[in-house]
Symmetry: C2
Subunit: 428 residues, 2 copies
C-alpha cells in the first residue's frame, strides 16, 4: 500500500459542486488501495474577500492578525471537503496546520517551515481515515501563534507533509494538465512536459512559470520526493518532477522517453528595470548601490554595468527587481544620492524577462548561438543578459515578450509538431 | 485597576462599520484605566451561511467537521476586531478558544466547559494588550479536537473566562438596553430592570427571555461573577445580574432602589403539548412514559396527570417539550404503545408558556391570587400550571399569550407608569 499526498488549490474547491467532485476523486484513490492525505487551499476567492474585509477595518492590519484572519479560509474549505467525503461513506478528518504539526518560524505572512510533526495525521492514517490538512498555514514554534507561509504556501505544505510522511508521491492538482514547454496562451503549439528535473522546474518557476512555486520544488528536491503536477479536471497523467537519477531510471525502464535538451521557455512581465546613470567608476560604488537596496529589503535579479566612459570617469549600473518594489528601490537610492554620487535614475516598467530552461544546456554547445540567432531573426532587441548552468534569460520590451518566447519555442524544436534541433558550434 | 470582560454578539460586529464602533468602545474602556478582555461572536449571519454551505456538500455533516467549519466564523470576527483596535493605536491580540484555554468535553456542537487555562490571556494582559477571544468554541480535553458550545455559547465563554480571570464584571453587549420586565414588542410599557438576581435571571432565561442563556447565568452564579447586560448602541447602564447579597449591598449603599417583588413576565411559544390519553392508572405507567421519552433524549418540561376516571381505571398524562422534539417524542411513545397501553396521543403545537418571575414571591403571599385573577379577568383559559419558588408558569393558547403577559405585567404594577401593588391573602 502506498501513501499519496494530494493537494487541491482554490480553483479546485471553488464551490459546493467542485468540492463534491474533488471528494469523489479522493475517495476513488483511497478505494484503489492507497493511503491518502489531502492538503487543501481556501475556496476560490475567499482569501481576497477576507483581505478586503481587513482593509475595511484597518489601514495597516498587523501581520499576526492578518494570518489569523486568512487561515479561516482553509478552515472552511477543509471541513467542507471532509463533510463531502464523509457523505460518500469514507472517514475524513480535517486538521489545521497547527494540528497537523506544521511548525514554522514567526515570520507572519511569509513563515518558513522549520519542522513537521505529523503525529495526528499518522494516527488518522492508521485508523483508515483520510486526513484533510489546511494548506498555507502553520504554527510558530516560539510564540505558538498561527502563521501563513506566503505565496505558494499550500504546495509547500503538501510537499513538506509528503516528505515527513515518506509518501511515494505528492500530487499537485491544478487547472492545467501539467507543466508546459511554454504558456499555451502565448505559444499555441506548447506541449506538456511528461518529466522534468527539480533543477529545471526551479529555474522555470523562478522565471515566471506559475505552475509550482520555487519553495515547494526546493523542498521536494531536498527530500527527493516525486511531485506529480496534474489537472483536477481530467484523469490524464501530468508532469512528474523528479531527480535526474529517477528520470534516468524511468527511461531505462521504458516509462519515459529520452529527455529533450530544452524543457521550456517562459516570459515574466512582473519585473522593472532601474538604471543608475552617471555613477563614478571607482571601487565601492556598486557596493553602495546594492547596500542601499539590501537595506530596503529589495531583491535584485539581473545586474549589468556599462564600460566606463573614459572622458567622464562615470558609468551606468542597471538592475532589475520586482515591479512592486521599484518605487521603494527608487526612494532608497535617492536617499543615498549624496553618498553614491549618481546623476539620474531611470525606471522602466515595460520590460519582460524571457528565459529558456533545459538541463541539456550543460552538455550541448551551441544553445546560446541558436538562442540569439532566433531573437535576431525575429528582430527582437536584447537589453540585458543573464545565465545559469541550465538557463539563459534576456530582458526585452513587454511588447516583444510573446514573440520572443514563440521564436525560441520554435527554434529549439519544442513546438508540438517540430523536429529536434541539432546543435553545432563551440558552446555558448 | 479592574479587569473587565466584554462580550459582543454577532449583531454588534455585523459589518466593518460595526466592528470599528465596537473597537472604539473597547479602546475607551482600556484608556479609562481598565484591563479589558474581549469575547466576540461570529459576524452577523456568518454561522447561517456556513451551515448552508455544509448542507450543500453533505446530507448529514459529521459533528466534528461542523464544529471545525463554524469556528471559522469567530476567527474572522476576532481578527478583524483586533485589526480595528490596532488601527486606533492600542495593542490587541486575537485568540481561538483553544489558545485561550477553553477546555471542553468532546460533545461536538454542545460541548461543556470542563476547565479554563487562560495562561496566554494573562500574559497578554500583563503586556498591556487587549486579548480578543473567540466565543462559542473550545478544545476537547481528550481528543484535542475543536468543539463548539452550542446555544448561548459565546456568553458562556465570556463568563467562564471572567470567572477564571477573577474579573470584576462581565459585560454582555447586546442590541437591547438590558433585561426588561417583559418583551417590549409585546408590552410597550415594559421597563428595564436595573438589578436582578441570578436565580430570577435563570428562571426568566428558562421561560423564554432570550437576553441571556441559562448556562451562562448558571456559570456566573457558581462563580459569583457580576454580569452587566447592556446595549452596544448606547452608553447607558443596563441590567446587573448579581447575588441577592450583592443587591442588598447595592441598596444599602444607595446604588440600587428597593427591589420589586416581581422582576418580569415572559411568554415562550416554542413548546408543544402532548397528551397521552387513556393510560391505565396503575403504578409504573407514568415511569414507562417518561422512560421512553428519556431514552429518546427528549427534555420534558411541565407534567400534569389527570385524576383517574373511576369507571375506566384510566387517566390522561399531559406534558410539554420543545416543538422541535415533538415528532421524536410522538414516535418514541408510539413505539412503546404496547408496553404503556395508552389509547391515543394528542400533539398541540399552538400553545404558549406564560411565566411570572420574582424573588419576592417567596415572602409575599397573594401572588398566585393576583396572577390567576388577572388571567381570569382577561378571559384567558389556563391549560397547565407549574411553579417554582420564584416562578409561576401556565400554558395558554398561542393566541392568548401576548394578552396574558400584558395582563400580568399590568396587574403586578410593572408598567412603566404603574403603581406598586399591595398583596393580600394567604399565599399561593
Amino acid at each position: 500500500m502506498s501513501l499519496i499526498v494530494q493537494k487541491f488549490g482554490g480553483s479546485s474547491v471553488a464551490d459546493a459542486a467542485s468540492i463534491k467532485r474533488v471528494a469523489r476523486r479522493i475517495v476513488h484513490a483511497k478505494r484503489a488501495g492507497n493511503d491518502v492525505v489531502v492538503v487543501v487551499s481556501a475556496m476560490g476567492d475567499t482569501t481576497d474577500e477576507l483581505l478586503e474585509l481587513a482593509n475595511q477595518v484597518s489601514d495597516g492590519p498587523p501581520a499576526r492578525e492578518l494570518d489569523m484572519l486568512l487561515t479561516a479560509g482553509e478552515r472552511i474549505s477543509m471541513s467542507l471537503l471532509a463533510m463531502a467525503i464523509a457523505d460518500l461513506g469514507a472517514d475524513a478528518r480535517s486538521y489545521t496546520g497547527s494540528q497537523a504539526g506544521l511548525i514554522t518560524d514567526g515570520a507572519h505572512g511569509a513563515a518558513r517551515i522549520v519542522g513537521v510533526s505529523p503525529g495526528r495525521i499518522q494516527e488518522a492514517i492508521a485508523d483508515g481515515a483520510i486526513p484533510i490538512v489546511a494548506g498555507f498555514q502553520g504554527v510558530s514554534h516560539d510564540t505558538k501563534d498561527v502563521t501563513t507561509l506566503g505565496r505558494g504556501g499550500s504546495d509547500t505544505t503538501a510537499v513538506a507533509l509528503a516528505v515527513a510522511l515518506n509518501a511515494s508521491v505528492c500530487e499537485i492538482y491544478t487547472d492545467v494538465d501539467g507543466v508546459f514547454s511554454a504558456d499555451p496562451r502565448i505559444v499555441p503549439a506548447a506541449r506538456k512536459v511528461p518529466f522534468i528535473t527539480y533543477e529545471e522546474m526551479l529555474e522555470l518557476a523562478a522565471v515566471g512559470a506559475k505552475v509550482l512555486h520555487v519553495r515547494c520544488v526546493e523542498y521536494a528536491r531536498r527530500g527527493d520526493l516525486p511531485i506529480h503536477v496534474r489537472s483536477s479536471f481530467s484523469t490524464h497523467e501530468g508532469t512528474f518532477v523528479l531527480s535526474p537519477e529517477a528520470i534516468a531510471t524511468a527511461i531505462a525502464e521504458g516509462r519515459a522517453m529520452e529527455q529533450p535538451i530544452i524543457s521550456g521557455a517562459a516570459a515574466d512581465v512582473n519585473d522593472a528595470k532601474i538604471t543608475v546613470i552617471g555613477v563614478p567608476d571607482k571601487p565601492g560604488e556598486a557596493a553602495a548601490i546594492f547596500r542601499a537596496l539590501a537595506d530596503a529589503s529589495i531583491n535584485v535579479d539581473m545586474i549589468v554595468q556599462n564600460v566606463s566612459a573614459a572622458a567622464t570617469g562615470r558609468t551606468d549600473v542597471t538592475f532589475t527587481c520586482a515591479q512592486g518594489a521599484s518605487a521603494t528601490a527608487k526612494k532608497a537610492l535617492e536617499a543615498q544620492r549624496a553618498v553614491i554620487g549618481f546623476e539620474a535614475l531611470l525606471v522602466d516598467d515595460q520590460i519582460a524577462k524571457v528565459s529558456l530552461v533545459g538541463a541539456g544546456m550543460r552538455s550541448n554547445p551551441g544553445v546560446s548561438a541558436t538562442f540569439f540567432t532566433a531573437l535576431a531573426d525575429a528582430n527582437i532587441n536584447v537589453q540585458m543578459i543573464s545565465t545559469s548552468e541550465i538557463r539563459i534569460s534576456v530582458v526585452t520590451t513587454v511588447a516583444d515578450a510573446s514573440r520572443a518566447v514563440q521564436a525560441l519555442h520554435t527554434a529549439f524544436g519544442l513546438d508540438a509538431d517540430g523536429e529536434a534541433v541539432v546543435y553545432g558550434g563551440t558552446g555558448r
